[in-house]
């Protein structure tokens, strides 16, 4: 796949369709992948990579890239196309400056899963049926896919590309995923248990803002959390309230726009399951206002931007909402 993609990128660079390529490049280690812009074919030959570690969602980088002169080629996995669409809808990306190539994705590896199984010194990876063969300095490991894939990929919502100029491989289908199972599990807890659960998670937050910086929905140029007068712009949270406030408000700001790409949980250095907050909003919106998938198209209006005179009253929360 990497070879096909590199060929495609070089072809489009050479015939002048695009003048740069947004993709992934190897870092210091094979699993240490970073998004990168390639300006010529030599750079692509030297550094371009696409494998099971390339988890980054590239659509957010297009906000800046598409504003530059000339066209940029971008490789989008199915879930990235949702973010791309959502950003198009919000007029954050200049569509004329982007050439989007859809690429298939079989799920990406979560490094923490490998670490937990004591796999270290990774030097390469191969796929074989339902297993990954991971080459390390200490020999090869064969590991089942479900033990190595990220949670968001195990509960993949869709393999379908909702937008592209060109597609490599075949398009998939919208999947029937179990992504709300954990949300339901939390909802079934008592309020005390829920509070203890979230306190335990949030208390690890170091306010590094990585979740915000990576989130394709968090694309405001002036973020509310950068305001020094907000009282929550500290790097270290001085009080538990700050953590609650930050995460509630951040989740709320992307409610109805979050495509559930799961980047927030991926980048969290403290492994806080932030996607569970976003999924709660998605689940509530689906239940209260009808099923809605952000980024599915560019026409529909976000659920918080419209209303229905017959909407449920906020008091539904007292009747519903979990145990007591």
């Amino acid at each position: 796949m990497q070879r096909i993609m590199a060929e495609k990128a070089k072809e489009l660079l050479q015939n002048g369709t695009v003048n740069r390529v947004l993709g992934w490049k190897k870092g210091e280690f094979v699993y240490d992948i970073t998004p990168a812009v390639f300006n010529n074919t030599e750079e692509i030959d030297a550094e371009f990579v696409y494998d099971d570690f390339c988890a980054n969602n590239l659509s957010k980088y297009l906000i800046k890239e598409s504003r530059k002169e000339g066209k940029v080629l971008v490789f989008l996995k199915p879930c990235d196309t949702y973010s791309f669409n959502q950003l198009l809808k919000e007029h954050r990306i200049w569509r004329d400056h982007v050439y989007a190539v859809g690429i298939p994705c079989d799920g990406k590896i979560d490094l923490d899963c490998l670490k937990k199984q004591d796999i270290q010194g990774i030097v390469g990876i191969e796929t074989q049926n339902d297993n990954f063969i991971i080459h390390t300095l200490y020999g090869d490991h064969t590991i089942a896919k479900e033990d190595a894939l990220a949670e968001r990929c195990l509960n993949c919502k869709s393999k379908k590309h909702v937008i592209y100029d060109e597609l490599i491989g075949r398009d998939g289908e919208v999947l029937d995923s179990h992504r709300f199972d954990m949300v339901e599990k939390i909802e079934a807890m008592t309020p005390d248990e829920r509070f203890a659960f979230w306190r335990g998670e949030f208390s690890r937050c170091i306010r590094c803002n990585a979740c915000r910086n990576v989130c394709p929905a968090c694309s405001c140029e002036n973020c509310v959390f950068d305001n020094p007068k907000s009282g929550i712009a500290n790097k270290a949270a001085a009080d538990s309230f700050e953590e609650n406030m930050f995460h509630i408000i951040r989740a709320f700001h992307v409610a109805g726009r979050c495509t559930d790409c799961g980047e927030c949980s991926r980048v969290c250095p403290q492994n806080i399951p932030l996607h569970l907050l976003n999924r709660k909003f998605i689940k509530d919106i689906n239940e209260f206002y009808g099923t809605y998938q952000a980024g599915e198209d560019t026409e529909s209006r976000a659920p918080l931007n419209i209303y229905n005179t017959e909407d449920v009253e906020p008091s539904i929360v007292y009747k519903k909402g979990g145990n007591h």
Binding site: I249, E313, P314
Partner: protein, 147 residues
Amino acid sequence: MQVNEIKEFRPKIVAFCCNWCSYAGADLAGTNRLNYPSDVKIIRVPCSCRVNPMFILRAFQRGADGVIICGCHPGDCHYTSGNYYARRRMTLLFSMLDYLGIEKERTRVEWVSAAEGAKFAATMNDFVETITKLGENKRLEDLRCKE
């Protein structure tokens, strides 16, 4: 001689009232000499949809034990549709607070028109009673803002 001071818990309630209906409703409750607890501090907003979720969290941070948002009845908004948007927003926010284990009774939305002074007083009495039973807001407090 030592005097044992018995401190009765008095909740702090913040009420966001829309300028066109609920604020006038509160006024009517006053002119009708209806009783409601003085623990309720009213903040006048142009419309119930002016209430940002951040306002509610801020109120809790600064020591509120309960927050109530009062607006025009759906369909009667001075700006045609403000309270419809507020309704969606608040439904989601309250559901999220509940999800995080914060007592859901601490937040409420009520529709009070300018003619419903009695409803305003009754709502506030009921809300203050609920919050008094719940006690101090411990889960969404900021210790730095405590006396």
